[in-house]
Symmetry: C2
Subunit: 202 residues, 2 copies
């Protein structure tokens, strides 16, 4: 449609997830008229990402230093570990302001059809972390917070099997049920079923 670098930029932007041809065009023309310094900043940050993001050697979250901010924070309870699939799940839990423990990022969920088995996830690191005491403090609760979908459920089931033999360890899972602000009428039967079977005495 266009000539030269403009079309190339539109094509490259269009390859990014969630950016359609219209958005790609809009962003390309924005960058075309943007200050060179703005474009340079975007280039530089792409360079830094390409040179490698550091992952925390304790929890596996994206990090600036070898050990991430949360794992270094002495105010965070090291006895409670919340297991999530991806780094982006950490801010989601953090936003609740309900959790003051540490995290463990698996790096995905079990999905044998796509070739993701237990060895592709950071499960071995999780077991090692639970088995060893750090500064005389042992993990006494693991909260499994995988996604409520097929792969996440399979991963949770696998983790529960691996973790139940640790003495003195409580394994918990996030509650399933009706989302807040939702409408009972529009809840799918699986969610409503979970909400029923997980009902609590008040």
């Amino acid at each position: 449609m266009y000539e030269g670098p403009v079309q190339d930029l539109i094509d490259e932007l269009g390859r990014l997830p969630g950016i359609g041809p219209k958005s790609a065009q809009r962003i390309a023309f924005h960058l075309l008229s943007a200050e060179p310094a703005d474009v340079t900043r975007l280039q530089e940050v792409l360079q830094r990402v390409k040179e490698g993001v550091v992952f925390c050697d304790v929890c596996g979250n994206v990090s600036e230093e070898p050990t991430c901010r949360i794992c270094r924070d002495v105010r965070r309870d090291p006895r409670v570990v919340c297991v999530v699939e991806e780094p982006k799940d950490v801010p989601a839990v953090e936003r609740t302001r309900e959790f003051r423990g540490r995290y463990h990022v698996l790096g995905g969920a079990l999905d044998p059809l796509s070739g993701v088995g237990p060895d592709q996830l950071r499960i071995r690191e999780l077991l090692a972390r639970i088995g060893s005491s750090v500064d005389g403090v042992e993990v006494n609760e693991v909260i499994i917070a995988t996604d409520p979908n097929t792969e996440g459920e399979a991963t949770a089931t696998y983790l529960i099997r691996m973790l139940r033999d640790f003495p003195g360890l409580t394994v918990t899972r996030l509650a399933s049920g009706l989302p807040m602000g939702g409408d009972l009428e529009f809840a799918d039967e699986l969610t409503l079923g979970r909400a029923l079977s997980g009902r609590r005495t008040v």
Copy 2:
């Protein structure tokens, strides 16, 4: 929310038009796990855009060479010039496959409140182009195809005033009316009014 380059990338992406925090995060994690070659391609194309996109010295459209592909195409009628606001309007008209003339890109629309007057647009170039014959061929029709909004209408009115004194030049405008596939019931009164006043004998 995140540490290090990941958050910087999310911030930079979030500055682009139409990309909210969620999309920025999604794209950042996509780039994080993308092949380095893909990121390099995006960097390179940003570099090429920053080094300067060439604008056609005849019509003002984005171009690879000093004169753009359409202005070089001898099969395109040089006697008919379609005046549009932005380079992105050119592919919009091209997609109709109804137009076989040339273009003139103004580079915006009159907007005195934002400091865009006639001198900020390529109006002088348009007048020079109409006034001079190229290879003995003169422009005999100018189609004004500015946006149907306040600024576009003001620009059209200004252009009509500047162009009406050229001898032998027909100045036309795109028809206003009901959009195809639309619903008469939902047309706004301005559009419906235009459709009425522009009604044609069948």
